[in-house]
Amino acid sequence: MNPHVAVIGVSQTRFEADKGYEAIIETVFKVVREAMRDAGINRDDLDSIVTSSVDLWDGRTASNQMLTDVVGSIMKPESRVAGDGLGAVFQGMMAILAGASEITLVVSQCRGSMGDHYEISNWVFDPIYQQTLGLDYLSAGALQANHYMKQFGISQKECARVVVKNLRDAQNNPYAQVAREATVAEVMDSPMWAYPIKEMDAAPISDGACAIILASQEEGKALSKNPVWILGAGSCLDSHYLGDRDLTGGDALIRASEKAYAMAGIRDPLKELDVAEVSAAFSYQELLWTELMGFCGRGEGAKILQEGVTSMGGVLPVNPSGGMIAGNPVTVAGLTRLVEAVLQVRGEGEARQVRGARRALAHGTTGCCGQGQYVMIVGN
């Protein structure tokens, strides 16, 4: 194993329902400067920049252009991924692996409070057919939830346990937006949004930003005593139309994770990974994604949760940060998973630290119902 790309700096903002007290550029400047400070570099050291955001959430087109000043990209090459921040990391890695960049900043931001999240997500769909029927991330997610739950006989209460676990663990995460002791009954009693998804099953609408600094092998070693390496990475895209996919089959995530495991030399993820940060916008997705990434057999996601395998202190804790249930700025979520994974491997997870974590998985998705899937393995 000879990893080529290091993560030498990370930073995230606190997730909040409304950061209207500061401009987007203010938030992004803070998070970028903090990532640079963490990496021990300054703007002159940056060779390239990758941003991640989506125009419709930003309420303007080519919306990365408003960030030029604050991501340090004046007179430098910048590219932009209109999708999840973990996908943007692939773009950053490519620049480094191609030899075009030694040090690359990857930053993602979103203000969920600016617009209407589900109204905007309606625009993800085909405007000629699907959009007019009112399809959005919520109703599409509900189709997938039922498909999955019927196939394996998963109950709403079993999904509710994901929420209880994540909200509880989020209390250890100073960046969380929602964190508290909750009960299965509370989740079950929360208003029904799109059967079987209830209000508490869904990630909140959030504002936030996240940044990481990537470095080549040489710079990683030079700049950092103990760099965290990207040991494996895989990405895969499923069909756009929901009706063309096997909603529960999840081939895209199976392929993305298998590729990442193969690169990292992992045969048994449950045994060889120490912690996983998973992007699940709805409670059922955490169960489904953990199965597809091979942490357990198909239909056993709820069982291993119930047995405590994926809880803090379990064999493979999933989302010690609270995951997206604790805060969910669109596109920022996947990059946040990587930041959390890096902090775990550094042993800097504070109250949410998984003891002795050496290898961590970060997972991101883009599009509806996990159309695009990204998996990364980081370690020392």
Partner: protein, 158 residues
């Protein structure tokens, strides 16, 4: 099925995009418009390193990658650094009404500012517009704290 030819038009679906936003303007725009509304002053913000006075005011100087510092009053007189005359109708976002055409649009470097700002020029005749011409901001009587508080820039003789 129709063939895609010049004789037969294929289906086109009219779509109206209607989304709602509340843009977080941030503390710098907040002060910029508050000052314009209350005192009629146009304020820029100075970078402590390169000492450029930036407009519109903002929290960060991108060139120096540092926080900006003190507020500086600029204008209301300035110099046109680029101009055009617009001959197509444009609905004025602050009034909701179409602006009479032709109208002048320019980049105006206000006295004391580094950045030139976009705005409307009272003069719409391209024959009467030129780079380097002097102009002055004309503000509305009843100001609301938005960019419409500056009606336009009028030509001045000095």
């Amino acid at each position: 099925m129709k063939r895609n030819s010049q004789q037969e038009e294929l289906l086109r679906v009219p779509v109206h995009m209607k989304l709602h936003y509340r843009f977080p303007a941030g503390a710098h725009y907040d002060k910029f418009f508050e000052e314009m509304k209350e005192t009629g002053k146009i304020m820029g913000v100075k970078c402590p390193e390169c000492e450029r006075v930036l407009l519109p005011p903002r929290p960060v100087c991108g060139e120096c990658f540092v926080r900006t510092g003190e507020w500086v009053q600029v204008g209301p007189k300035g110099t046109v650094v680029a101009y055009t005359s617009i001959y197509f109708p444009f609905v004025d976002g602050t009034t909701g009404k179409p602006r009479p055409i032709p109208y002048g649009a320019g980049l105006i470097q206000l006295d004391g500012a580094y950045s030139a700002i976009n705005h409307i020029l009272e003069e719409g005749d391209p024959e009467k517009l030129h780079i380097g011409m002097r102009v002055e901001a004309v503000l509305t009587e009843e100001r609301e704290g938005n960019i419409g508080d500056i009606l336009y820039f009028k030509t001045i003789e000095e």
